[in-house]
């Protein structure tokens, strides 16, 4: 990963959370209590109630004191108590509300409280005064109604009426007693109707009586309650007596007097008018036993009876009103109290309403301003009125709408920027990924030469840490191995408009690494240098391949040009040898020695040419799945017993899977490496006092899907400066080596898609590591 690119990534700040546009806030709904229709209905109800109270007050004289004190008083008391509770509740609620609002420092709390208090004070004093004065007037008036003179007049009239009535009753009773006492003994038992009628008629003519009846006491008949009964013996009445009087009433009166043994009286109102006053007196025999009763009756004229009853009724009503004076005063006091409470409750409510009407729009504006300030641009205020405050509210809503529109436009712009930023970021990530994946190293710098990015390939090729980001490239290239790059970058400072390119060689652990490097200045608009870019590419394998290709061509030409004359030379030498077979011994010995040397060297030269030819004609590998461990064992079996002083060790990974290789070519690789190790050990011996050994090992690198084959010895090792040349054709440390062995080995491994590296063995010696893809 191009760690150096992370500084760009650092600019990749997480986008701010998107502010989702909230749906427009609905204006605060108007409360039902603030509805003009509701208020109108309330006022109408109040007016109707007041009209009803006034009507009831005017009709109070028509209502009976019992109704007033028993029904109206209760109703008024209930209303008073209810209104007191309402007033107390409203006041308590607003006091609590005021305290809470003051603690919260809400605006207009004091103003509302002051307004309510002012209205309450303005109405409380006159209302209470009116109530007190009204109650006092009522009380004084009542005292005047029931004053002593009135009492005397009403009581006197009633007394006259009742005295008249009592006098008539006494008169009738006296008459009945006189008639009863005048009855001769045995008259009742004899029942002489004619003489009794004559006697009673005479009595009627000489007195004010209108009827006289004689009843005889008889034992009670079966089925009747009581111990005795009476029966009419004779009855006489004047023609002026109304006919609608009830005889049963006279019978009951007669029985009562007979059973009680004393005079009884009764009064019956007649439907035709007037009143019939009756009295019954017991009639006794000679022994003093009650044997019957005389009932006498006098008719009171309708006008007299009605007047007497009217006087009595008036007296009773007066007395009832007097007795119920307290409750009746209570009715009027309650009425005044109710009116006072209505005024107070109305004043309180009016104060609250007016305060609310005044402060609410301002409060809403303040709250709206706070809401707008807090970013809630959808906040709206419902206009409560069409006055100046309503215009202010409209202007506020218009302002909020404009702000909301501006915010939406800003939102859209911000979203566009975010989208573009994301696109740029995507592109940047793409470029970073590409740069990170490519084998070409890219280093970017700012105008001052400080490194801003460095991809992984550059860090690997230049062997620098990602932490170099931010440091000056000129300081970095002061490092010994990187010095060849410094002039390249410096050239972009001197000639910013001319890109520079150059092949440079960097030393890496004794090997040379060929880099194709190019540097260019990033010139912006106006010709100002905004930065620089250095691109480096490892061309070592390419150069190496070019060299190998050149050597293969040389080998092919050498094989062709050298091998052709060798056979005639060899044949000529053998011919000379045969020609001088009969020559003198000295000459023959000389010829034999020379021709043998020629043939031997020609054979050696042939072998050399064959190897050249083989290097040039290396066939393509025919890969098959191969057990690498078995292949190693097979190769090592060739050396069994040949080198007793050299130990052949093996550490083979049993988990190694089959590897797709050409077995013959890989066997040749193994044999070549083992031959080299054995030869090195035979030539220089083992380092130190340890026993010489050649160790072969296999292992599976499951992470990278690689089969690793190592051939190590404890010989003298290879100097670091020669390691890079080991695999070059015709480079050999052996006296008789062709220099093609390791070149062929490398080529075979490369043909299999693998790699081979030479390194120091531990503690000493050389170690060749072959990596083949699994």
């Amino acid at each position: 990963m191009a760690l150096g690119l992370r500084d760009i990534g650092a600019a990749d700040k997480t986008p701010e959370p998107r502010v989702t546009a909230a749906p427009p806030a609905a204006p605060e709904p108007r409360k039902a209590l603030d509805s003009p229709r509701f208020l109108l209905v309330l006022i109408l109800i109040l007016i109707a109630a007041l009209a009803g109270f006034v009507w009831m007050a005017r009709r109070s004289s028509d209502l009976s004191p019992m109704f007033l004190s028993g029904v109206v008083l209760y109703a008024l008391s209930a209303i008073d108590v209810t209104m007191l509770l309402v007033l107390g509740f409203v006041l308590a609620r607003n006091i609590v509300k005021l305290v809470v609002e003051r603690r919260r420092a809400l605006p207009f709390a004091r103003f509302r409280a002051k307004l309510v208090a002012a209205l309450l004070a303005m109405t409380l004093v006159p209302a209470v005064l009116v109530s007190i004065i009204g109650s006092e007037i009522i009380r004084e008036s009542a005292d005047r109604w029931f004053s002593a003179p009135v009492d005397d007049v009403v009581a006197g009239a009633s007394r006259i009426a009742s005295d008249f009535y009592a006098e008539r009753r006494a008169d009738v009773a006296a008459r009945a007693e006189r008639i009863a006492e005048a009855m001769p003994p045995g008259t009742v038992a004899a029942g002489d109707v004619a003489s009794l009628q004559a006697r009673f008629a005479l009595e009627l003519r000489t007195s004010r009586a209108r009827m006289i009846e004689l009843y005889r006491l008889v034992p009670a008949s079966a089925g009747l309650a009581g111990d005795a009964d009476v029966e009419l013996v004779v009855g006489v009445e004047t023609p002026s007596l109304p006919r609608d009087h009830v005889r049963a009433s006279a019978v009951r009166l007669a029985l009562r007097a007979a059973t009680a043994g004393r005079t009884e009286s009764s009064e019956d109102s007649l439907e035709s008018g007037g009143m019939l006053v009756r009295a019954a007196a017991p009639v006794r025999d000679a022994a003093g036993r009650v044997v019957g009763s005389i009932v006498a009756g006098e008719h009171l004229d309708a006008s007299i009876a009605d007047n007497a009853r009217r006087i009595t009724t008036a007296y009773e009503q007066y007395n009832q009103a007097k007795v119920l004076r307290g409750p009746l005063q209570g009715v009027y006091v309650s009425f005044f109290l109710m009116m006072t409470l209505v005024i107070l409750v109305s004043a309180t409510w009016l104060g609250l309403y007016v305060a609310k009407r005044i402060t609410r729009p301002v409060q809403q504006l303040a709250e709206g301003a706070r809401a707008i300030g807090a970013g809630r641009l959808d906040h709206r205020i419902e206009p409560q009125s069409a006055d100046e405050l309503g215009s202010l509210v409209d202007a506020f809503n218009a302002m909020a709408g404009e702000l909301r529109g501006s915010q939406r436009r800003l939102e859209r712009s911000r979203h566009d920027l975010e989208r573009k930023h994301l696109e740029v970021e995507e592109r940047r990530r793409y470029i970073a990924t590409v740069l990170d994946r490519i084998a070409t190293g890219v280093v970017s710098m700012d105008a001052d030469g400080r490194i801003t990015t460095i991809n992984g390939a550059a860090a690997r090729l230049l062997e620098v840490e990602p932490a170099v980001v931010g440091t000056s490239v000129f300081e970095l290239f002061e490092r010994e191995d990187l010095k060849p790059l410094r002039p390249l970058v410096a050239a972009t400072v001197d000639r910013p408009h001319e890109p520079t390119a150059q092949e440079v060689t960097l030393g890496r652990e004794g090997r040379e690494m060929q880099l194709a490097a190019a540097a260019t200045a990033l010139v912006g608009a106006g010709g100002i240098v905004e930065g620089r870019v250095l691109v480096v590419d490892d061309v070592t394998p390419l150069i190496r391949a070019q060299r190998v290709a050149a050597w293969r061509d040389v080998a092919r030409r050498l094989a062709h040009e050298i091998k052709n004359p060798l056979t005639p030379i060899q044949l000529s030498a053998e011919r000379l040898k045969r020609h001088f077979r009969d020559a003198p011994p000295n000459a023959r010995a000389l010829v034999d020695e020379c021709t043998t040397a020629i043939v031997t060297e020609v054979e050696a030269l042939k072998n050399l040419v064959d190897e050249f030819a083989q290097f040039a004609r290396m066939p393509a590998p025919r890969t098959v799945p191969t057990d690498l461990n078995a292949l190693v064992e097979d190769a090592l079996s060739l050396y069994a017993g040949l080198f007793p002083n050299i130990a052949l060790e093996r550490r083979l990974d049993p988990a190694l899977p089959a590897v797709r290789v050409d077995p013959e070519q890989i066997r040749r690789v193994v044999i070549n490496l083992v031959d080299n190790a054995i030869e090195a050990l035979n030539t220089a011996g083992a380092s130190g006092a340890s026993q010489p050994f050649v160790s072969l090992s296999t292992e599976l690198d499951a992470t990278n899907n690689i089969a690793r084959l190592s051939v190590a010895d404890n010989g003298p090792g290879i100097p670091p400066e020669d390691r890079d040349k080991l695999f070059m054709p015709y480079y050999s440390t052996k006296l008789r080596g062709s220099g093609l062995g390791l070149a062929i080995v490398r080529r075979i491994v490369a043909e299999h898609g693998g790699s081979i590296e030479a390194a120091d063995a531990q503690p000493r010696g050389t170690r060749f590591v072959i990596e083949l893809p699994v």
């Binding site: 008083l73 008391s77 108590v81 009380r139 007497a308 007296y315 007795v323 005063q329 309650s334």
Partner: protein, 174 residues
């Protein structure tokens, strides 16, 4: 100012303490006979009301209760006994009647004020509870609450007060 003081006094003054009713239950031959009297109920003010000719009614709410453990008393039976009187100032006589649960049981006329007082306030050996609701050897209580109408005094809070109350316990023995 005087009116204000009167209003204040009326508001502040609560109902007078309820007068007592003397209640005497009597168990005889398996029947419960109830006698009760409210001797102080007919005050001078009430006497004036009676003389004024208005109908004055004494209503007695009688309840037979039984104690319940850790709970309100259980009401076994309730009876309303009423006595009323009307004075005719023309004839100077009192017309009286008595009712039990709205049914007229007795009526009478008299010219004696003392008889009126007794008629309104004294009840002797009323058999008003059936034996079926009673269990032998159980404890019972009789509550008597009297209401007088019309009210001849005025207070701001005219509800929730009995004019006289009385209670007596008895054991029903059969």
């Amino acid at each position: 100012m005087k009116g204000a003081l009167i209003i204040l006094a009326l508001v502040m003054a609560g109902p007078e303490a309820a007068d007592q009713i003397r209640v005497t239950p009597l168990v005889r031959d398996g029947d419960v006979l109830l006698s009760f009297a409210a001797p102080g109920a007919v005050t001078g003010k009430l006497r004036e009301a009676i003389r004024s000719g208005m109908v004055v009614t004494f209503t007695y709410d009688i309840a037979l209760r039984q104690d319940a453990f850790l709970w309100f008393d259980r009401t076994l039976a309730q009876v309303e006994v009423a006595a009323n009187v009307r004075h005719d100032n023309l004839t100077r006589s009192y017309h009286m009647s008595r009712m039990v649960d709205g049914r007229v049981t007795l009526s009478e006329s008299t010219e004696s004020e003392d008889r009126v007082r007794i008629w309104l306030t004294e009840f002797d050996r009323l058999k008003i509870f059936t034996n079926s609701v009673l269990q032998p050897n159980a404890e019972y209580a009789v509550d008597v609450r009297a209401r007088i109408s019309p009210r001849v005094a005025w207070v701001l809070w005219p509800w929730g007060r009995d004019d006289a109350t009385g209670q007596a316990a008895f054991t029903y023995i059969r």
